[in-house]
């Protein structure tokens, strides 16, 4: 604001010319993620530990539920900063019903379907109160948070129920079997001869310890994903160029290369451990689907519009109450999926599971740049937010931060993240 002295002027000129402020504003959380990762990766005595294949894999598996719930939460937040406090309890309730069903010998696929449907039904039910009766979302879902925690206890009779169904655990769990098997090695046995410690190139890239058990299938999936991503991005840039949309082409290419390399790097880490985790399939499907919905579809557009200006949206012929209903029905469905993943990872369900999940989801969205007043926020931002939380959690465990202090750190991170967001937006004016 000041900028009257000569030195400051030239600095702000420089900042303006190269859009330094805009860059930082856009990529604050990515930079924070990089800094945090570097801090943990260079921690004295624990160097590089957080980047070990087992830890990268663990990061994904442990945070699968966060990604899924935060996606649903983002839809609610977009409609105007509305949150859903009930998801933790709904996760527990759906998982409880499913586990009890499977324990009594009911077909696993039927159980999974019922879990999803129960989640959806709860979402529709809560959405009804919020959208049609106009009970404030905070209160309606607070009621749900109590009620479904109670129902979980009722269903479980207060005790833990285990899952023994191996297919379920393989598909949604986190055990040794819950990875895509290395079919490429089965198909091409010659590969076993290639991936040896003697192969200097592969040893150099992958690392001596990992080269023999390297999961080729997983790496192929990563290669294909990166390729598809690059193709789509190139097409987008070409179309934009044709239409004359003034987007910086070099910037687009740089970010494309960075993301592609990141995909390959994660792929290599996963391949060096047990391969492609099953849960990542579900998470990737959810994230991809909802990134598409928010950016490309009419209902996605309506979510942003309602959060931005509900009255204007209603006068544009959009049935705004149905947009709220959609958001809450949707988060119910995703809570059902999160319930499945939670039960899979824990190999069962305990009446206290899922407590605080809603807060993790909410924090991820806000750290990821969603506005607390609605109308702005992206799935990509939410992914960064959730990842940042996950890295901090994991990092603190690795470097041995006292468990009591871990929540303190999380709280501080949330506050700082939102503070950055608010400040950078204020500067723009």
């Amino acid at each position: 604001m000041n900028g009257s002295s000569g030195g400051k002027q030239t600095l702000s000129d420089f900042m303006q010319k190269y859009k330094v402020g805009a860059f930082f504003q856009k990529y604050t959380m990515i930079l924070a993620l990089i800094v945090v990762t570097i801090v943990f990766a260079t921690w004295k005595g624990k160097e590089g530990m957080i980047l070990l294949p087992s830890n990268i894999t663990g990061l994904i598996a442990e945070n699968a539920y966060v990604f899924v719930l935060a996606t649903g939460m983002l839809m609610c937040i977009l409609t105007g900063g509305n949150i859903d406090l009930s998801v933790g309890s709904v996760v527990c309730f759906t998982a409880a019903v499913g586990c009890v069903m499977m324990a009594s010998g009911i077909n696993m696929w039927l159980s999974v379907l019922v879990m999803l449907l129960i989640g959806l039904a709860i979402g529709v039910f809560q959405g009804f109160w919020i959208a049609k009766v106009r009970v404030p979302a905070f209160i309606a879902t607070l009621a749900g948070m109590y009620a479904f925690r109670g129902f979980s206890n009722v269903v479980l009779n207060g005790y833990r129920v285990d899952i023994t169904n191996q297919t379920f655990l393989q598909l949604f769990g986190n055990g040794k079997t819950s990875y895509i098997p290395d079919v490429m090695r089965d198909l091409f046995p010659n590969l076993n001869g290639v991936f040896t410690k003697e192969n200097a190139f592969l040893t150099g890239v992958i690392g001596e310890n990992f080269v023999e058990k390297f999961n080729v299938t997983c790496m192929c999936i990563a290669l294909v994903s990166a390729l598809v991503f690059v193709l789509f991005r190139v097409r987008k840039v070409l179309v934009q160029k044709k239409l004359g949309i003034s987007q910086s082409v070099p910037g687009q290419i740089i970010s494309m290369v960075i993301i592609a390399v990141l995909i390959l790097w994660i792929g290599m880490k996963l391949s060096s451990y047990r391969g492609f985790p099953m849960v990542l399939i579900w998470v990737a499907l959810v994230l991809g689907l909802y990134a598409y919905i928010t950016t490309k579809t009419a209902i996605g557009r309506h979510l942003y519009a309602v959060g931005g200006n509900e009255k204007a949206t209603a006068l544009s012929g959009v049935k705004t109450r149905n947009v709220y209903w959609f958001a809450y029905a949707n988060i119910g469905l995703l809570a059902g999926l999160a319930g499945i993943l939670t039960a899979g990872r824990a190999k069962g369900i305990d009446p206290v599971y899922g407590e605080g999940y809603e807060m993790d989801a909410i924090a991820s969205c806000f750290i990821g740049g969603a506005s607390a007043y609605g109308g702005t926020g992206k799935v990509s931002g939410m992914i960064i937010g959730a990842t940042l939380m996950g890295v901090i959690n994991k990092g603190m465990i690795i470097v041995g931060v006292d468990a009591n202090y871990q929540k303190v750190v999380k709280g501080i991170v949330l506050l700082i993240a939102v503070m950055f967001d608010v400040l950078s937006k204020r500067q723009k004016r």
């Binding site: 557009r301 931005g308 702005t376």
Partner: protein, 514 residues
């Protein structure tokens, strides 16, 4: 010559990338009413924010000399201590609180730890009497109308012992009667020796009330006009200074006027207030619009114009509808649904573009397509390229000034926002456009462009209903004029026979008066 109370010397204020004020000079004599005029974004409000300490000393260059002293305000309290009080355009009252609580908010009287409520209310009543408000200071602000709320704001300023009162667009939300009362109040304060600065777009008010008029354009002072001559300064004279050229014609000429058959007709249309169902907000209104016709609806604020338009647009306002709506001669059974209205090719362009019209946090592109997403999507999936092309097309057509259609609407000026709002509804391809105060709060140049768009729409065979509380606008633009008062149509006349006088006469004749 009276003494100079305030002098602002060579004020320069820069925001990142923009010079909002460039060497502005302003002299205000004690006991005068000084008007500050200029187009939107010319820098009037910025100048007043510098004066009142909202932009503290050090963030601008130049000097403020008040009462012979050089002032270095670091916040608004500092300037208020010296009696410089600003009343902002948007009313800053808490609706749930009483008038008295509002007047002393942030300035509570009594002991540090205990408010003296008896003193608060007795003092408040005293100041309310001074502004001519008959209400008790113990009633809630939400129970009184905007005209009275504006008076409360002034009473609040008086309670701060104002010596220099700055009024930023004080009449923008008032009807003509309340506006006139407010201006007369200003004149009576002047007699008691108060100095005032008024910022306004309404040039007739300026020539009525101001002693001197300073014109600001593009962040610089252009001239100061003395208004003490025998004849009041003409509006054309002021406009010339504001836009830097002579505006010979404020309304573009209609060409290709081809008026066709009756397109929409309502008869015995009655609507009730949503909260007080016994009250009629639209009372037995019958009217029609023909193809290619611009129909003006003139009425004072609160006459029921907005309510009429919104009730036609998918019953988006009111309850207990009765009457008949015919399109192309066929009666239409419309449900309470905006989507239905759009399907019947009716568009309502709201008077409140920020509140009801635009999603400020989204881009021009997103706003343009919002009312007609179907046209650019296949099976609910939006075709981004087509959407972009559409937004570009309307940017060109309506001359929206922006670097890109990806620009957030919240960053645009009022005139450009209004154009985006028009673009949105033109893209919805309506046959009937209900334009509610389409030029409110935008500058003269942008108004002219909006008028051109209206003429183009009519030339393309659309029906335009132009609702306005500016008489010259209604007279200058319409083919036919309906006059509304107290929820009823009280007159209808052709443009040729309509004059300011007979329109006002129609309102007066309607019995219940202005």
């Amino acid at each position: 010559m009276a003494k100079i109370l305030l002098e602002m010397k060579n004020i320069t204020k820069t925001f990142p990338g923009v010079k909002a004020l460039d060497n502005v000079n302003l002299q205000v004599e004690e006991g005068e009413i000084h008007a500050l005029v200029g187009e939107n974004g010319a820098g009037k409000s910025t100048l007043m924010n510098v004066l009142s300490g909202i932009y503290p000393h050090g963030t601008y260059e130049g000097d403020i000399i008040y009462d012979g002293q050089v002032c270095k305000f670091s916040n608004i309290k500092d300037s208020e201590k010296l009696g410089i009080v600003i009343i902002h355009q948007e009313l800053a009252l808490v609706p749930e609180m009483t008038i008295g609580e509002n007047m002393y908010l942030g300035n509570e009287c009594g002991h540090k730890f205990a408010i003296d409520w008896n003193k608060t209310y007795s003092e408040a009543d005293k100041y309310l009497k001074m502004v001519g408000l008959q209400e008790s200071s113990k009633i809630q602000v939400k129970t009184i109308g905007t005209g009275k709320q504006q008076l409360v704001e002034i009473a609040k300023a008086l309670a701060k012992k104002a010596k220099l009162l700055i009024l930023d667009e004080p009449t923008s939300s008032l009807n003509e009667e309340d506006s006139r009362a407010l201006l007369d109040l200003m004149l009576s304060f002047k007699k008691q020796g108060m100095t005032m600065i008024i910022i306004t777009h309404k040039l007739n008010e300026v020539s009525y009330v101001a002693d001197k008029i300073t014109v600001i354009r593009d962040g610089s002072t252009i001239e100061t006009i003395d208004n003490h001559g025998a004849e009041p300064v003409s509006e054309e004279r002021i406009i010339k200074g504001m836009v830097g050229r002579e505006m010979t014609n404020r309304f573009p000429k209609r060409e290709n006027v081809r008026i066709g058959d009756v397109k929409m007709e309502i008869s015995h249309w009655t609507v009730h207030h949503p909260l007080y169902p016994e009250k009629k907000v639209v009372d037995d209104v019958s009217m029609y619009v023909r193809q290619g016709e611009v129909v003006g609806i003139y009425g004072l604020m609160g006459a029921g114009r907005t309510e009429l338009a919104m009730s036609i647009f998918g019953q988006s306002y009111g309850v207990n509808f009765s009457g008949e709506l015919k399109l192309d001669g066929k009666p239409i059974k419309m449900r309470k649904s905006e989507a239905d209205a759009i399907k019947h090719k009716i568009a309502y362009v709201t008077e409140d573009r920020k509140g009801n019209g635009l999603v400020l946090s989204q881009s021009i592109k997103v706003n343009t397509s919002l009312a007609n997403l179907d046209a650019i999507s296949n099976n609910m999936v939006i075709d981004g390229d087509r959407e972009y092309a559409v937004a570009e097309e309307y940017r060109d057509k309506l001359k929206i000034k922006t670097p890109s259609v990806e620009q957030l609407v919240g960053n645009l000026s009022g005139g450009n926002q209004q154009k985006v709002l028009l673009a949105k509804w033109m893209f919805a391809e309506p046959d009937i456009l209900l334009l509610d105060e389409p030029t409110r709060g935008i500058d003269v140049g942008a108004k002219y462009e909006i008028y051109c768009i209206i003429n183009d729409l009519a030339a393309a065979g659309k029906c335009v209903v132009l609702i306005s509380s500016e008489l010259p606008e209604v007279l200058g633009m319409s083919d036919r004029i309906y006059i509304m008062n107290e929820a009823r149509i009280v007159g209808e006349m052709k443009a040729e026979e309509a004059t300011q006088e007979n329109i006002m006469a129609a309102i007066l004749r309607s019995g219940r008066g202005v």
